[in-house]
């Protein structure tokens, strides 16, 4: 699948979409496929401080718990309440279902993340294609 051009990606399969100094975060199609049916998403509260590369929550499938890693540092401004009642939305529309929004502390961090093309290449290598 083509990964949306309007965002950047991490090797832990998160995406981050920037709009000025605010960013929106979610997980990729590759992540949701690997996880299988998602039944639970645990996100931090509004106001929480995220540190780039550190875990900020978990996503659970029927069989397993997976950590979510912050693509960038900042303060959480909004959390998607939909995911508490309908976590399966992440499977159905991983690039449209956002998990949280944050105010970026250091927008320069994004330079180290993967472009859509580089992420797709990374995923194809991981999948052994």
């Amino acid at each position: 699948m083509a990964y949306p051009m309007d965002r950047k990606y991490t090797k832990e399969h998160e995406w981050i979409q920037v709009n000025g100094s605010t960013a929106t975060v979610g997980i990729t199609d590759y992540a949701q496929q690997s996880l299988g049916d998602i039944v639970f998403v645990e996100t931090p509260k509004v106001g929480a401080e995220l540190t780039s590369g550190k875990t900020f929550g978990t996503v659970e499938s029927v069989k397993a718990v997976s950590d979510l890693y912050a693509p960038a540092s900042g303060t959480v401004t909004e959390v998607n309440g939909d995911l508490a009642t309908s976590p399966e939305k992440v499977n159905k529309d991983p690039h449209g279902s956002w998990m949280l929004k944050l105010t970026l502390k250091n927008p320069g961090e994004l330079d180290g993340l993967l472009s859509p093309a580089d992420y797709e290449k990374f995923v194809n290598e991981e999948a052994g294609h």
Partner: protein, 362 residues
């Protein structure tokens, strides 16, 4: 078929089949509860005991009463160590006058076979490990009978639950088919020759015949959620070599009144001294999923036990678990907590099994 595979006790097994063909754990689970699903369970083991003293041998190693079995009948039981803990759980099938088939778990094949052979030497009975001779396929769900009937000349409607029959299946003669399973649904487990060509052909013929019933291939993931809803034990979790029959709540399959069997003495002593812990069913009352190994706490956050198996339950749409707790916490309605990533989440003791299949009206 594009399944996600995992290594399970030395076997390469499918966890779930792809969403792209309508599978995934939740769909597979629901198919078994409402239609029909098929499982390749060839990893299970098969031990045959045959000879003039086969019954005596089985009675010596199995805690249930095999003398109650008519030819063609099966029963759930367990093999115990002399201290009353579990070697394995097993389904004992009486295939003939003096012929019994024990179907055992995959992870314990070699251990079980050695143990059975060592504990039956004194009986005039041949003990054979047939595990590699058979491919076992489970066809489970309310429509399982309809599916299998298309492929065999045996009259399946005449086979009661926990009985077996033999018949022609997909052109193969004399195939053993048992009305047994590990899903808490109606269904059959069939035993076909294990060569790859035959096994693949049978699997594919079942899939093809099952199209009329929307058959779904199912993996280990759904196998686990299905058996958990039905409170069916899994070796290494609810039963093991450190847990005894009374703690596991399997009293009704243990016939203390029959002649001596391995483990009986220790069980008598254990019964007299009373339970230290007991297996209960839990339902989460707060957000969170209890999983295998998580600690169970009382309302003062004191550790009182642990989860043996926990998962979301796709059919019941709740998060459930089985856990060992002291008897004083075992009453239905008791509030406890499960520790999830350092925090206690509320749960309550509920009756088990969590799910019981509806009685057929036809």
């Amino acid at each position: 078929m594009g399944a996600k595979m995992v290594e399970f006790n030395g076997w390469d097994m499918p966890v779930e089949y792809p969403a792209s063909i309508g599978c995934g754990i939740i769909n597979e689970h629901m198919a078994v509860r409402t239609g029909v699903g098929i499982f390749d369970v060839s990893h299970m083991g098969d031990i045959r005991l045959a000879g003039p003293q086969a019954l005596a041998a089985v009675q010596h190693i199995s805690m249930n009463d095999a003398a109650k079995l008519s030819v063609g009948q099966a029963q759930y039981s367990a093999l115990l160590y002399s201290n009353g803990t579990f070697v394995d759980d097993v389904i004992v099938h009486r295939l003939g006058e003096d012929e019994y088939l024990l179907v055992i778990n995959a992870g314990t094949r070699e251990k079980d076979f050695s143990w059975v052979r060592d504990n039956t030497r004194q009986f005039d009975c041949a003990v054979e490990n047939l595990s590699d001779d058979f491919t076992q396929i489970a066809i489970q769900g309310p429509k399982a009978v309809n599916l299998l009937q298309k492929l065999t000349d045996a009259d399946l409607s005449a086979v009661k639950f926990y009985w077996v029959t033999r018949g022609k299946l997909c052109g193969l003669a004399d195939i053993l088919m048992g009305r047994t399973g590990y899903t808490a649904e109606d269904g059959f487990e069939i035993y076909v020759p294990a060569d790859e060509a035959t096994s693949a052909r049978i699997w594919n013929e079942i899939l093809a015949a099952g199209k009329d019933f929307d058959v779904v291939p199912c993996g280990l993931g759904a196998r686990n959620t299905l058996r958990l809803e039905g409170k069916l034990p899994l070796y290494g979790h609810e039963i093991s070599d450190t847990i005894n029959v009374w703690e596991a709540g399997l009293d009704r399959f243990c016939k203390m009144e029959k002649a001596d069997f391995v483990g009986r003495g220790a069980l008598e002593i254990a019964k007299a001294s009373g339970l230290q812990r007991t297996l209960v069913g839990l339902e989460m009352t707060e957000r969170g999923i209890a999983r295998d190994g998580y600690k169970v706490l009382d309302l003062n956050d004191r550790e009182i036990g642990y989860v043996t198996s926990g998962s979301p339950a796709p059919f019941l749409k709740k998060n459930i678990a089985l856990a060992y707790v002291p008897p004083e916490f075992a009453a239905v309605g008791t509030a406890v907590k499960v520790e999830i990533r350092g925090q206690g989440a509320g749960a309550v003791v509920v009756p088990t099994p969590f799910y019981k299949r509806p009685k057929k009206t036809t």
